[in-house]
């Protein structure tokens, strides 16, 4: 079988798998977020935490819940890293440095999983399991809760509440993430992923020498790493490591896990709209259509760049295989890279730094789009909904009405929140990169000169501010400057948009929607999908064109 055929079959198989679970999983989540019944386990949690599960929260209370919970998470993960040497399962690890501990704490609480540490060399098993793995569940659940609050804002009429954050959070973990993770972990273990509690063990090699081989609860970490679009690998090599991702089959399954929830959430959205009468399944499909269009274009471009990549070294080697695993090849590496940067995952099975300039530029561009193709769990949906509302505002005026989405008017207050949401991450990326390029000690971290070095820094801030977490290797990011600056980018890049999204949700929920007439902008047709795609690309493209020109474009056009 040729590489091309294998690559195409792999992509087709992935799409079939996603199509198969789209409706059942999407509808399951719709039930989860609209049910009035509590499971026994959930009731126990509510009683222990003193949550009044049947009380609806106003936007302010919901937002305070999200922020307080996330702040507490950051503090806990920070503490755990700082005192891990005294705790069980320390496997001989010392305390993590303050700046790195701060960076890691923010990183995991913000669903970023930027890792300036090397997993097997810095974190104890307890830190990995009780700190990082727990955050992999919780930060993902926070994102999904916020998405549901925004959806409720669009659905509800003249309402001053958005649901209950604690209930959304607990249900996401109990009814969605835990069952899927359990099933997914079994598949991964069956596929050969390691799962034990041992530390480094000494093994004799075939060559007669000995080697220290690390063990650990890898499969259970791996599944939520992908499923929750977290991306923080158990090992430094992430999904390129054979213990995390042993074969082409586990590789495909991991990509499937990455896309599973972000894609299915658009069905949840459509189902909730259809059930409330505020819209239809086609509105969900339109959002998915915009995500899928961008994903497919990006995948095609990245794959083309990698497969036909130019450059003297590539020509000499016969293929752009530097930084890629032989067991995956170009096609599977490009697919994984597109999935991981189009979501906020940031797991890698190959090194983006070694991609061809245009291929690397493309995965960078995926992140700069705001990670909406299809985006992180929850954050992809609320990000794309905000972009859809921006498209409605830009194009909607052209039908002679003040713009509205699902009958909710996009007035001055709403557009200000939308603009702030859309402005936040570009500002963080540009300002962060600008400062880094202006500071000599920050420039010293760059592993390469010229355009490529610049791309490394731009990539680092894009990855942090957009909560991706993947790294364009080559940049020595474990310095005081980068730990602090990227920590701030991750913190603001995650929580400022959440503040704006929830405030927007509150403003929308309070409105009485206008009825749908022939004069209403159709927001469920292909034309609207085109508008959303164009808005997303043009707004991002225009913001980052100068920066991209000095990075990957300049490098690629040489």
């Amino acid at each position: 079988m040729s590489d091309t055929l294998a690559g195409l079959l792999q992509i087709a198989l992935l799409f079939c798998l996603l199509a198969a679970v789209y409706v059942p999983l999407g509808d399951h989540m719709a039930r989860v977020y609209s049910s009035t019944r509590h499971l026994a386990a959930e009731r126990l949690v509510y009683r222990l935490c003193g949550v009044q599960a049947d009380t609806e929260q106003r936007p302010g209370a919901y937002l305070r819940g999200v922020l307080a919970f996330s702040l507490l998470s950051i503090l806990l993960v920070y503490l755990l890293q700082r005192v891990q040497q005294w705790l069980p399962l320390s496997i001989g690890m010392g305390p993590v440095d303050p700046d790195q501990a701060w960076n890691t704490a923010v990183s995991f609480a913000a669903n970023t999983n930027w890792q300036s540490y090397s997993g097997e060399a810095a974190m104890s098993h307890l830190t990995q399991m009780a700190g990082l793995a727990v955050q992999n569940f919780l930060s993902a659940a926070v994102g999904m809760s916020v998405a549901m609050a925004l959806v409720r804002g669009l659905i509800r009429r003249r309402s001053d509440t958005l649901g209950n954050f604690w209930v959304d959070l607990v249900r996401t973990v109990v009814r969605v993430l835990l069952p899927l993770s359990f099933a997914g972990a079994l598949v991964l273990v069956a596929g050969g992923v390691v799962q034990n509690l041992s530390g480094l063990t000494e093994q004799a090699t075939l060559g007669g020498g000995t080697q220290l081989v690390p063990g650990g609860p890898v499969a259970s970490q791996e599944v939520i790493k992908e499923l929750g679009t977290n991306g923080g690998g158990f090992f430094n090599a992430n999904s390129a490591h054979p213990f995390e991702n042993p074969s082409a089959w586990t590789n495909l399954f991991e990509i499937f896990l990455i896309l599973l929830i972000p894609v299915s959430l658009t069905r949840t959205y459509g189902t909730l709209l259809a059930r409330s009468g505020a819209g239809s399944h086609r509105h969900g499909l339109a959002i998915l259509g915009a995500m899928a269009t961008l994903f497919c274009v990006s995948l095609a471009a990245t794959t083309a760049a990698e497969v036909h990549g130019g450059g003297a070294a590539t020509q000499a080697a016969g293929a752009a295989m530097e930084g890629k695993e032989v067991r995956f090849g170009e096609w599977a590496s490009a697919l994984f890279a597109t999935a991981t940067t189009g979501t906020s995952t940031g797991a890698v099975n190959s090194f983006h730094d070694s991609f061809t300039p245009l291929g690397g530029g493309m995965v960078l561009f995926n992140m700069l789009l705001g990670e909406v193709t299809p985006g992180g769990v929850g954050s992809g949906l609320y990000g794309m909904l905000v972009l859809a509302m921006l498209a409605v505002f830009l194009g909607g005026l052209m039908i002679g009405r003040t713009p509205e989405y699902l009958g909710k008017r996009i007035g001055a207050r709403e557009i200000k929140l939308i603009a702030l949401f859309v402005l936040t991450t570009p500002a963080l990326v540009l300002v962060g990169t600008g400062i880094a390029m202006a500071l000599p000690q920050a420039r010293a971290s760059m592993g390469d000169p010229g355009a490529h070095g610049f791309t490394e820094v731009l990539y680092a801030f894009a990855s942090g501010a957009n909560n991706n977490g993947s790294a364009f290797a080559g940049l020595g990011a474990d310095t005081f400057f980068y730990n602090t600056a990227i920590g701030l980018a991750m913190l603001f890049g995650r929580f400022l948009p959440i503040v704006f999204a929830l405030t927007l949700a509150g403003a929308l929920a309070a409105q009485q929607p206008a009825p749908v007439t022939a004069g209403t902008l159709p927001t469920h047709r292909p034309l609207f999908v085109t508008m959303v795609v164009a808005t997303t690309v043009i707004v991002t493209g225009l913001t980052f064109f100068p920066a991209l020109a000095l990075g990957p474009i300049a490098e690629g056009l040489l």
Binding site: T402, G407, L420, Q512, A518, T520, L550, I553, L557
Partner: protein, 702 residues
């Protein structure tokens, strides 16, 4: 584009109801002349005041940029720097010019109105005695006397008498109107002239706060406030500006790193790039679009009390239309002749004609017209005696020489006359009469007698005549998603028949003012915006409740104060035009915003290669110079010049509004996206290239 598929250009009166009002500002409505533009240059320069510029963040940023480049020019003069700086200043001035031209049109109209507000004196009644006082000394509640030739000194209601009044000073309509005490035609406007008779007016507005004063302030845009959508769009433009500001400011360290020696692009180039990227096109034209929208209404003789109302008009979901005057011609018209058994149509026509010969009411005239179609022209009978209509007899007719008489009237009255004259009333006629009534028509029975006997000749069917062309207009409104509801005092059956004929979506029969108010509230509960017209005092609550309430100028003061627009022509059909103008305003804003943003793509392709392709290691970026621009300097100058010229090129569009055709949202969106989105993407590539061909001839830039 044919007239049939447009809504906007349909002037009032195309349906034959009222003669189109001569527009007061026909002169100002004309094309933009070079002279008119030049005349506004001083006003445009005055607007460079930073305090007034600060209201528009986009253009304020350009102004700050101009100051920076001017300083740069002084420090490091070069042909390139001077040319760029001059064009940046031109950008700001062009923007101010657009606003000044829009305002200038309003000022011309205001001047015409001011002539009506000349110094007048008033004959104030004080305890039954007339005292002549200056009009400016009048207070609310004063009674003044106006006789033929007097200028009415202030706004008020007629409390005594009836007079014909020339209101052309306010409405531009030269035909005199009747103003009388009591009822819905009692309000008079200061500045209008009494032509005949004598009236006593109670003043209802303080001097300086009259309708005329408000009109002047409105057309001048003296206290123009930003509308909700303008604020929203402004916020978006400001955030786009901020976005590009960040992109350009951070470009400095990026480029400094890339150059390898720490030298970044100059302030001049960064400012030029920034100005090209921020949405200056829409930012420059936004105020002009709003002013021009109000102006288009004024030219149709509609005064909007706020820009907010114009915008709301574009969003309207439901139109409440009064049946009489809006949907029907106001008077019933003869529609058919239905002869009784044994009577020919010609006989019936001749009798009906004779009975109506002296009837000057519109109904009577329409009977004459209809009958003459049957009989041909008939000379009036000599020595005939007209029997006028009275409330008691409920008949009218004619007594002809020789004892013969003809009558027409309500069935019961004619029946009594026939039976009293010794005839028998044909029972079959009763059936016809009932059938006509059931359809919502008015049956008029025609009979003749010669003193000894009498007989019924047949029935004239009078019906409400729906104005021609309305069905199409309602169909187009439906396509735009606007529901039409007819409001009438008729019974449901009659109302239903007319509603079906006119093609409205719904009707409210036997409507009281309370019903109307309740209907508006109900529609609004469902999230709909409602527009209506009204003139009576009891319309005032509904006018106030409606999102767009258009009061007729002939209406009462209460109605005019409750509504947020006043139609000086008192043509209720104009509501449809008002909606179209509101939509056109929003579309113009959207189209120019899209155009402005789409333009940026080409500007990047001009400027980015110009900035960086010369640096070692970045030569590849030269491939982005797909327009093949002559030199880095000419590329930057061309982009800046294009950016400034496009503002000028679009001023006429901003003032006129984009062409607007009624249609469903999806079709309209596709067309406008194609024209302004795709057009906005392609146009600057062509424009910048053409400008570059010229610019590259300038020594020092090539």
């Amino acid at each position: 584009m044919s007239d049939t598929d447009t809504l906007t250009p349909a002037p009032s009166g195309t349906d034959g109801s009222a003669a189109p009002a001569p527009s007061r500002a026909d002169a100002a409505a004309g094309r933009l002349t070079a002279r008119a533009v030049l005349a506004q240059v001083p006003a445009a320069l005055r607007k460079l005041d930073p305090r007034s510029m600060a209201a528009q963040p986009v253009m304020f940023v350009v102004l700050v940029g101009c100051v920076l480049t001017t300083v740069y020019c002084v420090v490091e003069p070069s042909v390139f720097a001077v040319v760029v700086t001059l064009w940046l200043w031109a950008t700001v001035i062009f923007s101010n010019l657009a606003e000044a031209i829009a305002e200038g049109r309003g000022k011309a109209q205001a001047d015409t109105l001011r002539q009506a507000r000349r110094e007048t004196t008033a004959r104030r009644l004080e305890g039954g005695v007339e005292n002549v006082v200056p009009a400016t000394r009048l207070g609310v509640g004063d009674l003044v006397v106006c006789e033929a030739g007097d200028v009415i000194p202030g706004d008020g209601d007629v409390v005594e008498g009836v007079a014909s009044v020339d209101e052309s000073a306010v409405t531009g309509e030269s035909a005199p109107v009747i103003r009388e005490s009591g009822g819905d035609r009692s309000s008079v406007t200061g500045g209008t002239t009494v032509l005949s008779d004598r009236i006593v007016v109670r003043i209802t507005a303080e001097p300086g706060a009259t309708f005329l004063d408000r009109m002047i302030a409105l057309v001048e845009g003296a206290d123009r406030q930003k509308t909700p959508n303008e604020i929203a769009l402004g916020a978006l433009l400001a955030s786009l500006t901020l976005c590009f500001l960040l992109a350009v400011v951070t470009l400095s360290p990026f480029a400094a790193y890339a150059s390898g020696d720490g030298s970044g692009p100059s302030v001049l180039i960064l400012v030029a790039l920034l100005v090209c990227l921020i949405p200056t096109t829409i930012g420059a034209l936004l105020p002009a679009i709003g002013i021009a929208g109000m102006d288009r209404l004024v030219r149709r003789n509609v005064l909007a009390m706020s820009g907010r109302a114009v915008e709301a008009a574009g969003n309207v979901d439901t139109l409440l239309l009064d049946k009489t005057g809006t949907i029907t011609l106001g008077n019933r018209q003869a529609h058919a002749l239905l002869p009784a058994a044994g009577v020919t149509a010609r006989e019936l026509a001749a009798a009906a004609l004779a009975a109506s010969a002296a009837d000057e009411t519109p109904e009577g005239r329409s009977i004459v017209v209809l009958c003459e179609r049957e009989t041909g022209p008939v000379p009036p009978a000599r020595e005939a005696t007209a029997v006028p209509f009275s409330a008691e007899s409920r008949m009218s007719g004619m007594d002809l020489p020789g004892g013969r008489g003809v009558r027409k009237g309500a069935a019961s009255a004619v029946r009594r006359w026939v039976e009293e004259s010794g005839g028998t009333y044909d029972a079959a006629v009763t059936e016809v009469v009932e059938a006509i009534a059931a359809e919502g028509g008015t049956p008029l029975v025609v009979a003749e007698g010669d003193g000894s006997t009498a007989r019924v000749l047949g029935v004239v069917h009078l019906k409400d005549v729906v104005k021609p062309g309305l069905r199409d207009r309602f169909a187009r409104l439906r396509a735009m998603g606007i529901r039409t509801v007819m409001v009438t005092g008729d019974n449901p059956r009659t109302a239903g028949a007319i509603a079906a004929e006119a093609g409205v979506d719904d009707f409210l029969a036997e409507a009281t003012p309370q019903d109307k108010l309740a209907l508006i509230r109900r529609e609004q509960e469902g999230g709909r915006l409602v527009a209506m017209t009204g003139d009576g005092t009891n319309d005032a609550p509904a006018l106030a409740q409606a999102d767009v309430g258009v009061a007729m100028n002939t209406g009462t003061t209460a109605a005019k104060e409750a509504g947020n627009m006043v139609d000086l022509d008192s043509d209720p059909t104009k509501l449809i035009d008002i909606v179209a103008i509101g939509k056109q305003l929003l579309i113009t804003r959207g189209a120019l915003t899209t155009f402005s943003v789409a333009n940026d793509v080409a500007k990047y392709f001009a400027i980015i290669p110009a900035l960086f392709a010369g640096m070692a290691g970045y030569e590849g970026l030269g491939a982005l110079n797909i327009m093949g621009l002559a030199s880095p300097e000419s590329a930057i100058v061309s982009a800046v010049v294009f950016n400034a010229l496009v503002i000028v090129a679009l001023i006429p569009l901003a003032l006129r509004g984009v062409r607007y055709r009624a249609g469903d949202a999806a079709t309209m969106l596709r067309r406008n996206l194609l024209i302004y989105g795709l057009g906005g993407l392609i146009t600057p590539f062509v424009g910048i290239k053409l400008i570059d061909v010229v610019v590259s001839l300038i020594p020092g830039l090539a």
